[in-house]
Amino acid sequence: MQLIFEKSKAGRGCTLLPACDVPEVQLPEELKREQALNLPELAETDISRHYTALAKRAYGVNDGFYPLGSCTMKYNPRIDEEIAALTGFTGVHPLQPAETTEGCQKVLALAEQYLCEATGMDAITFQPAAGAHGEFTGLLLIKAYHEARGEQHRNKIIIPDAAHGTNPASAVMAGFSVVTIPSGADGCVDLEALKASVDENTAGLMLTNPNTVGIFDSNILEITDIIHQAGGLNYYDGANFNAIMGVVRPGDMGFDVVHLNLHKTFATPHGGGGPGSGPVACKEILKPYLPGCASLTGEQPKLQMKAFHGNFLVVVKALTYMLTLGAEGIRNACETAVLNANYMMEGLKDLYPVAYGERCMHEFVLCLENLKKETGVSALDVAKSLIDHEIHPPTMYFPLIVHEALMFEPTETEAKETLDEAIAVMRELHKMAYEDAEQMHHAPHHAQIKRPDEVLAARQPILRYQAD
């Protein structure tokens, strides 16, 4: 398909602005742009058709099943979009006087009430724009806390080897060194390894529970206690919060700070990569360090993660969702997500070994190491073959502790027939692996493109269009 630049015709355009009704002011020559501004020149019809064609070459939750593990691709309710598009929200300047933004403040206050109750925390900031941004924020709270207590020597964050890649990356951005602890034979935290890793320099632990292999760590109270005993704090990575909301709360499990991914658990859309929202909720002890906003208060805050109030419209969407679900609905969503995952795992586990455990929470990880040994068909081949069946592949090759991993997260918004169909397709692919591996090595066969050459892309990067 042509790029929008290749469709451009000099002289085309849209009539959008009236003529200037005041005398025109020009910049002096030495400040003027010299380089031509090569943006596309198109009529509105061209633009509409171009982006409609691109949309047809995209795949969203609305297009079909999207069991991308760790990403919680649940349905994104349309009412949430409509509410976030109300002029009463979109038309408000972030630096308007407080007495003219009571509605926005109410949105944040209500969202705070729901999220603090659901997490068992005391205070929250909506400033972080995404999960990783939230991790960074939460870790800076831990850093500020230790410093305020004169314990700046606490510079180590303990992270299990199965953790999301953002965890160690965030810890380094917050100035900590990372202590990686191996997972036990059950995929959970190895208590002995944890005990051995804490010392007077322990700043805290980052943990997601259920963990990235989809298992709830039963030792959670011992784990958080070991960290507290050592003088550290416990950080809850909320990426998997959909598996526990309404059932158990991080605040009750000994966590001191948690980030939530509103774009996962609270049904706001992913938008092809963002915007998300990664609010950070914490216990009273960390509240004094929550980030502020210089332009709003006129004072330099100790911490500020970005400008203004965070991705506000995303919070509006999440609040609309939470109001709709209510206390029962939140629990129901969680339970159904766990039920759907277990059902799907049950339908596959005789053919594809489950990496860990008999039961899972909201997601499960299959290990295709044997399949690959016996047939040569890899996790990648199976994932790509799913595309031909109009199913978005699961997360591949994560967590790193499982070889040839495929991680499925069906979510609560999928019907039984969707799960049944996906199970049937996966079983068919298993059969095909033994019968026609070659075909699977080249899958997908009916997609927009064949497999792309990623090595070429990285070796000779073409990162923008250049006119000839």
Binding site: I4, F5, G13, L16, L17, C20, P23, E30, R33, E34, Q35, L37, E41, L42, I47, A55, K56, V61, M73, I83, V92, P94, T100, T101, C104, Q113, A129, A130, A132, H133, F136, T166, V172, S218, I220, V247, H270, G272, G273, G274, P275, C293, Q304, K306, F308, N311, F312, L323, G326, A327, A333, Y343, T413, A415, K416, A457, A458, P461, I462, L463
Partner: protein
């Protein structure tokens, strides 16, 4: 059962039976009994769509949406063409994840590739990433790109937006790096102070163009000074202004960042906005976040993929250059559609009209006895006035007439005018201010 769960009670029983459990609670036996919630969350019961709609509409009506906005300070109300909202509301774009699976995400990937090209065009830089959270966090990430083992100190101009400065300071606090402020002189960066501040431990200098007061900095000269001291040069730019202003590349910038909100995004109480970020070829591999590249598929056809991923957290973990994972993709799409629709002439018009109207308004205000326009040199679409009366009085009088006045700053008001405000409205605003000042 509603609430977006398709399963009926009967189906739920079927699923439970298939996995061999009687009750859903059996799936949560791993949770220690003492922390398992015995009661429902202390939250209201769920609501119907109609009830939620009524409630949220009522809440939104508690905000005041001004008919005329004369306030900017990094959140700018420009005209948003109708088609922008329609295209960016397409469900395929809205409900897709990050395009990890290139074979079914070519539309998303191509839209990002086109966005990257447009950002390169605006800034003149060689390569752009797929976006960062906002202008402030993009600035902070840019500083991190420049830090080296022996060069860790960031210099930031005092004319920078306070939120950008605070965000840079926060990111630097994380890694224990120092930020030094380069003082201003007459509303622009003090070039001699910059020269004096350069040292062997300085990794970069950040300047905002146009700066917080609306003034246009001599970015070419500042860049030369920064480079002469061995520092990298980062410019934080207003993307609309770039349609008429000398590009960061022409000014010698190593990295160009900025707040992309003016490119088709509403004010929205501060977000979601768009941090754009572009660099020279030499620094491309230090860019944080997603980058889309062109390649070929197995049949030799053009294809797009996420590329240079060896920089990123999911591969490098604690050695990654940044932790960025989710970005602002839909906002980047918004900017791309906006730029395509406006076209080169449209964006220039938005820039020229904003600048012209701001200058017209400044003249009207300067004609009021006791009002002084502080900006001395060249400036774009924001300016500062001092007033002979209490700032709040002026703003209150404007608010009564459905006009959001400028932002109160230390010694006056920071005004902003865009192409959305008609001459008639500007005259009305000036008349109101004249009356208050009389």
């Amino acid at each position: 059962m509603g609430h977006y769960i398709p399963a009926t009670k009967e189906e739920q029983q079927e699923l439970l039976a298939a996995i061999g459990v009687k009750d859903i609670s059996e799936l949560f036996t791993a949770v220690p009994e003492e922390v398992l919630l015995k009661e429902p969350l202390n939250l209201p019961a769920g609501k119907s769509e109609l009830e939620v709609r009524r409630m949220m509409e009522e809440i939104s009506s508690q905000n005041k949406v001004f008919g005329t906005v004369l306030r900017g300070a990094s959140a700018y109300q420009h005209y948003i063409p109708s088609i922008v909202k329609y295209i960016t509301a397409k469900e395929e774009f809205v409900t897709a994840y990050t395009p990890y699976q290139a074979e079914l995400s070519q539309g998303i990937l191509q839209s990002i590739f086109e966005y990257q090209t447009m950002i390169c065009e605006l800034t003149g830089m060689d390569a752009s990433n797929a976006s960062i959270y906002d202008g402030a966090s993009a600035a902070a990430e840019a500083v991190a790109m420049c830090r080296e083992r022996k060069r860790t100190v960031a210099l930031v101009s005092a004319t920078t937006h306070p939120d950008v400065l605070a965000t840079i300071q926060t990111y630097c606090y994380g890694v224990g790096a120092e930020v030094r402020i380069v003082p201003e002189k007459d509303g622009v960066t003090d070039a001699e102070a910059l020269r004096a501040a350069l040292a062997e431990d300085v990794c970069c200098f950040y300047v905002q163009q146009p700066n917080f007061y609306g003034n246009i900095e001599d970015c070419t000269a500042l860049g030369e000074i920064a480079h002469s001291g061995g520092a990298k040069y980062i410019m934080g730019c207003n993307p609309i202004a770039l349609a008429v202003l000398k590009t960061p590349a022409a000014c010698g910038a190593d990295i160009a960042v900025g707040e992309g909100q003016p490119l088709g995004m509403p004010l929205a109480y501060g977000g979601p906005y768009l941090g754009f970020m572009a660099a020279t070829n030499a620094m491309t591999r230090k860019l944080p976040g997603r980058i889309v590249g062109e390649t070929k598929d197995a049949d030799g056809n053009r294809a797009f993929v996420l590329t240079l991923q060896a920089r990123e957290q999911h591969i490098r973990r604690e050695k990654a250059s940044s932790n960025v994972c989710s970005n602002q993709a839909l906002c980047a799409l918004t900017a791309a559609v906006y730029l395509s629709t406006m076209g080169p002439e449209g964006v220039k018009q938005a820039a020229v009209q904003s600048m012209s109207k701001a200058h017209y308004f400044a003249e009207q205000l300067a004609a009021i006895p006791g009002v002084t326009v502080k900006n001395q040199g060249n400036w774009f679409h924001e300016f500062v006035t001092t007033l002979p009366v209490d700032t709040e009085k002026v703003l209150a009088a404007l608010a009564e007439n459905d006009i959001l006045g400028g932002l109160p700053v230390q010694d006056g008001i920071l005004w902003c005018v865009t192409e959305l405000v008609s001459k008639e409205k500007l005259d009305q605003a000036a008349a109101i201010i004249r009356e208050v000042c009389a």
